[in-house]
């Protein structure tokens, strides 16, 4: 009964989505206020029905209703409650429903936070979001219905994939989807602006907070995914350049470029066409990612049940939405005028360079991810493109960004003085190089130029960022006044860029100075790694809710003192009958100690892998700092002043642009 209710609710949501798009878009075109007014109520009704639909699916899981195919495939009566709920998005059909629900959520948010947006613009934005909703919901109803029944119902379910039975894994998809789907708002604003012919700084001002919030979620989702892969998949890796990881990273890179570009368009009215294109690209890459994961076109660790029929549907949907938007861009963009003037060395140009680098990085990742498919389609053989390619291509592209991210905030708009700036920063440059080289030379015995360069860049970035903050603060009469007078967006930028520096430190140090050993250990024996000694005490049996495990016990010593006790497990999940290795980690700000059980050998001995990973937490701390920066920026009053004078039909805002730099 509940499943049918959910199914019905989804159909109603689709009907609402149709109303939400057809009338407002036509109304905006015809200037019919009544039609345009349909947008908000339709959007809210759509969300209401989506909420019912997803709640019904969740209830089916909670009630262990195995007559629903999706529940039978992904759950089990022995599965703990919180995982049963998370199982809603554990596989293809349910995760698409989550996608639709989150799109409904963003749509409703737009209806709430768009006071002051002109009727016409608002109608168009909601209309475009409605079109996207129609596509997703049709896809679910026609090809991926989570509410399908099976008779007779199986006595128990297939259990959730053990890899997903983990806290990090349960929140990672919702966070990611909030990010991916959130980029549809900027996309819709861009389309609405192109349709209406009003591309101005007000459009950029509207888009910015929406893009920021989506970006924050996307950063969080990616950081979570990486952290999860590290502690769950074992072997100490945190990024594999797997096609689906790339599918989330590309929109992130473009969204970052978009954020920076929106700032320029808002403040200086420059790069309008380029910013619009970025807004279109960002969401297009989200949709492309959805296609790649679910069509079976690429092999991936994340691939859902892949099915070419589903793939075809998404491809057509992708073609219509993205193709349509790019065609609209080709038609309308030539008419966009921007009169910004700036010299070669200016904040505008540096931000443009930043954009080019980020987009080139995203394009390179796309090239690498799709290249095997390209060659295969042309009959030119089968190759693999993996981490060696991506790191070789990505790292050099990022280097200029690390170098310039701290500097650009100090360069004025329109025209900067290179020589004067270089003189001011000269000591930071020398200092960074010295610190980078010195730390490597002192702390570690070997000279590794890549590490030195990486560390130096991180120091440079942090130092220039802090110096730029300092330069602003000291213009005021006192430190406190200086700190208080800065707008949140300045702090946001500072935190986010410092997050990048922290990330770089984590990557560079953990990449080069990690140590690992695979050894045979009998109970009582130990192995040493760096300054640490890992003593194996033995293995005991442990029973979990839906698994049976062998748990090893290790004590880690540094010198004479005990540092940690680690208990890695080898779990056997009863229902699906597979074995998972749960590594044990002693986390630390400056190092992780990591132990994983291998296989039982003779006489009670086991093969064991131990790792020492310095500074690896900085990678995710960097991600969290970036997120914090984004959140701080969003809290800026400028964005909350949305009850601003409405935008004129011609797109010329009443009142001058703000003079803040």
């Amino acid at each position: 009964m509940i499943a049918e209710l959910g199914h019905m609710a989804l159909i109603m949501a689709l009907a609402m989505a149709v109303l939400q798009s057809v009338f407002p878009l036509a109304g905006a075109h015809q200037a019919a206020p009544i039609w345009m007014a349909v947008a908000k109520p339709a959007a809210r009704a759509q969300f209401f029905f989506l909420m019912i639909a997803i709640t019904c699916l969740a209830l089916s899981f909670v009630n262990n209703d195995f007559s629903v195919v999706y529940v039978a495939k992904n759950s089990n009566s022995a599965l703990p409650l919180y995982y049963r709920i998370a199982a809603v998005w554990g596989a293809h059909e349910g995760s698409m429903l989550l996608w639709a629900f989150i799109l409904g959520l963003w749509t409703v948010a737009v209806t709430v936070f768009s006071r002051g947006l002109s009727e016409e613009m608002g109608a168009r934005v909601l209309g475009v979001m409605g079109l996207i909703s129609i596509g997703i919901q049709l896809f679910i109803l026609l090809t991926s219905n989570p509410f399908e029944r099976i008779a007779p119902a199986p006595p128990d379910g297939n259990d959730m994939n053990p890899l997903l039975q983990d806290f990090g894994m349960t929140i990672h998809p919702p966070m990611l989807y909030m990010g991916y789907v959130g980029l549809s708002v900027a996309f819709s604003f861009a389309i609405a602006a192109l349709l209406g012919g009003t591309l101005d700084s007000a459009w950029a001002r509207w888009s910015r907070p929406w893009t920021l919030v989506a970006w924050v979620f996307l950063t969080f989702g990616i950081t979570l995914g990486s952290w999860w892969a590290y502690y769950e998949l074992g072997w100490g890796g945190w990024w594999f350049w797997d096609p689906v990881e790339n599918a989330s990273f590309m929109p992130w890179l473009v969204a970052t470029a978009l954020l920076h570009s929106l700032a320029v368009t808002e403040k200086r009215g420059a790069f309008k066409a380029w910013t619009v294109l970025l807004a279109l690209f960002a969401f297009s890459l989200s949709l492309l990612g959805t296609f790649l994961v679910r069509s079976g076109v690429l092999t991936s660790v994340h691939a859902f049940a892949s099915d070419p029929t589903r793939g075809l549907f998404i491809l057509v949907f992708l073609g219509v939405i993205v193709g349509g938007s790019l065609l609209l861009y080709a038609l309308r963009a030539p008419g966009i005028r921007d009169n910004a003037r700036y010299r070669f060395f200016s904040k505008e140009n540096l931000l443009l360079l930043n954009n080019i680098l980020l987009v080139t990085a995203a394009a390179s990742i796309l090239l690498g991810t799709l290249y095997p498919l390209l060659l295969d389609a042309l009959g030119l053989g089968k190759i693999s493109v993996g981490p060696p390619y991506f790191t070789a291509v990505f790292a050099p592209l990022m280097a200029p960004i690390f170098l310039l991210a701290g500097v650009a905030p100090m360069v004025p708009w329109r025209q900067g003085e290179f020589v004067a700036l270089a003189r001011r920063l000269r000591y930071f440059f020398d200092g960074s190089l010295l610190l980078g080289w010195g730390l490597v030379w002192l702390w570690l015995d070997e000279d590794d130029y890549a590490t030195m360069a990486g560390l130096s860049m991180a120091f440079w970035l942090a130092a220039t960022m802090l110096f730029s903050l300092y330069s602003r603060i000291r213009l005021r009469s006192s430190w406190l006044e200086g700190l208080r007078s800065q707008s949140p967006s300045v702090y946001g930028m500072t935190f986010a860029h410092l997050g990048v520096a922290a990330f770089l430190v984590g990557v560079v140090l953990s990449n080069h100075y990690s140590q690992e050993k695979t050894v045979r250990l009998a109970p009582g024996e130990s192995v040493s790694l760096g300054h640490y000694a890992f003593k194996f005490e033995g293995v005991s049996e442990v029973t979990g809710p839906n698994y049976q495990a062998k748990e090893g016990s290790f004590r880690v010593y540094r010198g004479d003192g005990e540092v940690a006790q680690l208990k890695p497990q080898k779990r056997f999940y009863r229902v699906q009958g597979n074995t998972m290795t749960e590594a044990a980690i002693d986390p630390g700000l400056f190092r992780d100690l990591y132990v994983a059980l291998g296989e039982p050998l003779d006489q009670g001995a086991w093969s064991v892998r131990v790792y020492y990973k310095p500074f690896i937490r900085w990678i995710w701390l960097g991600g969290l700092l970036m997120m914090a920066g984004g959140l701080v920026s969003v809290s800026d009053r400028r964005y909350r002043l949305l009850a601003r004078p409405a935008v004129h039909r011609e797109g010329v805002p009443v009142g001058a642009l703000t003079k803040e730099s």
């Binding site: 076109v297 491809l315 993205v322 861009y329 799709l370 498919l373």
Partner: protein
């Protein structure tokens, strides 16, 4: 005009993605197509005293089928191979991959033996020489001992009719080298 570039690049990408929907990204094509079959000589599964190797493959068109008693998909294709053996269109040889002799012989007894003989590759090293990565796999070898086709996965009736038999007929027409 340059504003159309994103659209055109996108369309190109969609075309390739559409083609991609018809392809299988997991399939690894064999680098041996058109090259001589790798040299090997292994004891036979049934008669352990005798060996089986490349020499036996020379001078005739033949099929080499990689199988194992633990392989579920092999059971799927087995009836097709049995029928093919009965028709006697082409000799079928087996490569018993990483199996136990007793289990292999038992399997053949239970399901039938379509092979002229099967070579016993206990440690899988010959399999690696032939680029085997999943069982079952079937190679079509011509009269000169050159591999002309590799089927990854079970031989279905369709594969047999559409790909293997026409190729075998074509290869039968070729002259043997002296």
């Amino acid at each position: 005009m340059r504003y159309l570039i994103p659209f055109l690049v996108f369309v190109t990408m969609v075309v390739f993605l559409a083609i991609g929907l018809t392809l299988d990204p997991r399939e690894v094509p064999s680098p041996f197509i058109g090259k001589p079959a790798p040299r090997f000589s292994l004891p036979q599964v049934a008669e352990t005293g005798k060996t089986f190797g490349n020499e036996e493959l020379q001078g005739q068109v033949s099929l080499l089928n990689v199988w194992a008693s633990w392989c579920v998909s092999c059971r799927q294709e087995h009836p097709v191979l049995m029928q093919l053996a009965r028709q006697n269109l082409v000799p079928i040889y087996g490569l018993n991959y990483k199996d136990e002799r007793a289990a292999a012989l038992g399997w053949l007894k239970q399901f039938g033996d379509p092979y002229r003989t099967s070579a016993f590759d206990a440690d899988g090293k010959v399999g690696i020489e032939w680029g085997v990565y999943g069982v079952p796999e079937t190679f079509v070898i011509d009269k000169q001992g050159v591999i002309r086709y590799k089927q990854t996965g079970p031989v279905t009736e369709e594969v047999l009719q559409k790909k293997l038999l026409p190729l075998i007929r074509e290869l039968e027409q070729e002259k043997t080298s002296s």
